[in-house]
Symmetry: C2
Subunit: 334 residues, 2 copies
C-alpha cells in the first residue's frame, strides 16, 4: 500500500496513534493547528510547521520570491492565530537546487521578514540543504498565549454555533483562474481573487481577541475549505455538524469567477481552502457577546453551521434543508 491510497489524513491518523504518549510539560500534542507546551510564567508556547513545495504549492513563474516567502510565512502565522496566540519566533528550513539564484533566496527572506515584521515575530534559526529538483520551504513557527487561553479544535459542544470571520472561496477562485487562463473575468475581479490566493492575511488580532474573550469553544483557520475544516473540529470534538452551504459568505469577485468558469462558487468556499479566515464555535447564548468581539476587531461574523451529537461528520445542507451534493472533495496531499 502506498500513501496515496491511505490519503493525507489517513496517514496522519495512523502515525498519531503510535505517538500517543504523555510528555512532561506538554499541554497539547498532535491534532490541532499547533502543539502547546508550558512556557514562561503565565504563558504557554505554541509551535507549528508547514511546508511549501515548488510546483506543488507554488509556481515560481507566477509569483515573485517575496510573495512566495510572505505566503509561506503567512500560512504558519495563520496556524498560530488560530490557536489565539501571538507569533514570536520562526525557523526556516530550505531545500534548494544548486542553481537557485542568490537573488531568489534574498527575495524569499525579504518575504519571510516582511510577514514576520507585520506580526512582531523574528527569524531565529533554520537550515539549508540541497534538494536537486525543486525549492522546499519548511517553516516552523512559535507563538505564545496566556496560560489556559489557547483555542483548540477539541472543545466544541453539541448545539454550538459555527461561524467564520469573513468570505471564503476567493483564494480557490484565484487558483482556478491560474489553472484555466482562458476564463475571462473583469481585471479588478481577477486582481482581487489572485491577491487572496497569493497574499493571505493571517487573523492574528482576531485570534487574540477570541482567545481573550473566553467565549470560544473551538477554532481553526480555514486552510482546507469550510467543509473539511469544520470536519476537523468534528473529529477532535467527537461531534457531528451541519453546514448550511449557501450561508457561507462569498465575495462578489468569487461569484463572478464562478459564473465565468461555469462553477458553483460555493464549491470554492466549501472545498477550496487557503482562505485563512478563522472558523470558530461558541454556545448560542454567547452569540451577541461574540458578535461584539468580532465587530470590535473589525470583522464581520457569519454563522454557517451548528455542532450536533453524532458521528464526526459534516452534513452539508442546501437552503431548503436537503442535502447539498458536493461535486468535488477537499484538497488532500496524496
Amino acid at each position: 500500500m502506498d500513501i496515496s491510497q491511505l490519503g493525507e489524513f489517513g496517514l496522519i491518523h495512523r502515525i498519531a496513534e503510535h505517538l500517543k504518549t504523555p510528555a512532561a510539560g506538554l499541554v497539547k500534542g498532535i491534532g490541532d493547528d499547533a502543539a502547546v507546551f508550558e512556557g514562561p510564567p503565565g504563558w504557554e508556547i505554541v509551535i507549528t510547521c508547514d511546508a511549501q513545495v515548488e510546483g506543488v504549492h507554488f509556481l515560481p513563474e507566477s509569483m515573485a520570491p517575496e510573495q512566495i516567502g510572505r505566503k509561506a510565512a503567512a500560512i504558519n502565522i495563520s496556524d498560530i492565530a488560530a490557536m489565539g496566540a501571538q507569533p514570536t519566533f520562526m525557523l526556516v528550513s530550505l531545500g534548494m537546487p544548486k542553481t537557485t539564484p542568490v537573488s531568489f533566496v534574498d527575495g524569499l527572506y525579504q518575504g519571510f521578514k516582511q510577514e514576520c515584521d507585520r506580526f512582531g515575530a523574528s527569524i531565529i534559526g533554520g537550515n539549508m540543504a540541497h534538494c536537486p529538483e525543486r525549492i522546499f520551504i519548511d517553516i516552523t513557527l512559535l507563538g505564545q498565549v496566556e496560560k489556559g487561553r489557547a483555542l483548540y479544535r477539541s472543545n466544541a459542544k453539541p448545539g454550538d454555533l459555527a461561524a467564520v470571520s469573513g468570505p471564503l472561496g476567493d483564494s480557490a477562485a484565484g487558483l482556478s483562474l491560474l489553472l484555466a487562463p482562458e476564463v475571462r473575468v473583469d481585471e479588478k475581479v481577477r486582481a482581487s481573487v489572485l491577491k487572496a490566493h497569493f497574499t493571505p492575511n493571517p487573523r492574528v488580532d482576531l485570534g487574540r481577541a477570541l482567545s481573550a474573550s473566553g467565549l470560544i469553544t473551538a477554532a481553526l483557520d480555514v486552510s482546507d475549505g469550510a467543509a473539511q475544516d469544520l470536519g476537523h473540529i468534528c473529529e477532535e470534538s467527537k461531534l457531528g455538524a451541519v453546514l448550511w452551504a449557501e450561508k457561507v459568505p462569498l465575495s462578489q469577485a468569487c461569484k463572478e469567477v464562478g459564473k465565468a468558469a461555469g462553477k458553483n462558487p460555493w464549491e470554492f468556499a466549501m472545498f477550496g481552502g487557503e482562505d485563512y479566515e478563522l472558523l470558530f464555535t461558541f454556545s448560542e447564548e454567547n452569540q451577541p457577546a461574540v458578535q461584539k468581539v468580532l465587530t470590535k476587531a473589525g470583522f464581520s461574523m457569519t454563522i454557517i453551521g451548528r455542532m450536533e451529537e453524532g458521528d464526526p461528520k459534516v452534513r452539508i445542507l442546501a437552503a431548503d434543508g436537503s442535502a447539498w451534493n458536493p461535486k468535488s472533495t477537499g484538497w488532500t496531499h496524496f
Copy 2:
C-alpha cells in the same frame, strides 16, 4: 550569481546579516547549534532544525527506513546536546512522493520514536506534503537547559584548549566505503565504520554534564569535520585557533579504511564530519577538572588544539609544527 557560487556558509552569513534584530525573550539567534529563548522559570528553551534529503543525505537502498528515521532524529538531538540541553519535543515535516509505501513511513516514524525514546523526547506535531521526486525529512527539535547554562560557540577565550570527546573520522570512513565498494577491508572494520555512519550517538549526557560543570567556554557537535567545526567556534568567538592534525584521535577501524583506500585517515576526521562527538573549549587551568567531568561521564578527552588571538581561521599543524596541507575541504551543501 547562484547559491553554489556563494556556498552554504556564505549564504547563511548573507541572510543572517539581514535578520539581526533584537527580539523580546530571545537569548540567542542565528549562529549556534540551536537558538535559545526564555522558558519556564529557571529554564531556557533551545530549538534547532535540520533536514535529510533522499539521495543527498541518505540512500534508501543502503539504509532501512528505521535507520533513516533514527539518524534524522539523532543529528538534531546532537545539536541540542551540543547546547548542553535536554531534548524535549520534536516536530517532523515530511515531503514525499505519492508512491511512497506506507510501510516506509511507518519505519521512519519507528526510527524517530526509538531515538526520541532514548533521550526522553516526544513527537508533538509535524506536517506532510507532496514532494514528487524524493523524500525530504525536516525535523525541528526543542530542548531545555537551566537558565544561563547553555553552551555557545561564541565564548571561547585566547589560550583556551580545544578538545573532543572521542575518535573522529569513522563516519566519513564508512561513507567512503559506500562510495567505493571495491575497497576491501575486514568485515569487522566495515561493520564498525558503517555503524558510525548510519547510527550516530548523540552525546546528550555529556552535554548535560559539561553544561552543569560551568567550565566550558564554547562547544558544538562535530558535524562538518574537526577543521570546519573548530572554525565555527573561531568565527563566533572572533578568535583564531591552531589544530594539531595528528592529535585528533582515530579509531583503529578508521586507520584501516584509510590504508585500504589509500587515503590519509586524518582527512576523514578533519574534513569528513557526521561524527557527532562534542568539540569544546576551556581554560588551561581547568583542564584537570574538565578531565574529571569527562571521565565521570564515561568519555575520553583528547586535546586537539588551542584558541589564539587573530583572524577567525584554523591553522592546521602537523606534528613537527609545519603546516598540514589538507587535500580536500569540509563538506558544504552547495
